[in-house]
Symmetry: C2
Subunit: 156 residues, 2 copies
Amino acid sequence: MVFQKERITEIGKKLHQAGMKLTPQRRATVNTLLKYQTKHLSAEELFTLIKREEPEIGLATIYRTLDLLAELRIVDRVTFGDGVARYDLRHENQQHFHHHLLCSVCGKVEEVHEDLLTEVEEVVMHKYGFKVQDHRLTFHGICSTCRQKERCLEQE
Amino acid sequence: MVFQKERITEIGKKLHQAGMKLTPQRRATVNTLLKYQTKHLSAEELFTLIKREEPEIGLATIYRTLDLLAELRIVDRVTFGDGVARYDLRHENQQHFHHHLLCSVCGKVEEVHEDLLTEVEEVVMHKYGFKVQDHRLTFHGICSTCRQKERCLEQE
DNA sequence: GTGGCTGCAAACCATTTGCACAAAT
DNA sequence: ATTTGTGCAAATGGTTTGCAGCCAC
């Protein structure tokens, strides 16, 4: 990760603008989020990973940091229907939140970074007078890997 | 609601097909879901309402009924980011789940019943090899009412 | 020394589960 | 009789909160 350092500095700036500090705990949290970008980790999972870097950290601090980062729109909270919140780093300059493909066979979550919804949002604006600021889109279905496996089994 | 009775009978059939009964408690639950179709009620909210019809009912029964109805794809569980699950009746013959417009000012949730995503699902299929079975789409933004209010304030 | 930040433990609260009893077939 | 469903109370588990101490400016 070449960009990691600058990304953290940049996040540090955002924090300072909001009158807050980039403490070691927060740094470690952001670090871990960066390192496991597409993994959709829960607070508990993050806890385990962050401890390696910052062994004294408490789970509550992580929740508080994530709340903070969410408010500053640095991360987004996602839920996939199990009762656990997961945290995704918002990509830089990414205006809208990315989408997810949730495989109902293996549980894997893929990310889709194309926007795809510009037209749909036009419709929502014109037909419903609703000014879209953000969205959450998750497709449930079968991922390519699982589909291939299914085909193999059929051929037996 | 003219259609309510037949809708319940139909749901009763689905239950029987799965080897289960349409008990008074379940009937009351479905009734209430029908009555408050677009309200996105939580289990607790449903509990209060269902009690009017079936005062002896326990909250656990409602959770169990909702699980059952969700498995039979009669209702869908939705979450809007507060940690509470809400339950929406799936419309008859509706292949895909409807979308939601969540107003960040007043908190109101509107429903959008047009599909809107057929093209997007094509892309997901071809580019990612992902076979879509269902989706969850929520737009966050400002509803028409709140936008009008904002405009009035600006003019002062 | 004031204000934000932290760790810990306790509290919270939506949901689930165990169990003994009831209803239906 | 066996299976399915129910109400109640207790347990669960992710998340939040209160608080005393800590750190930086």
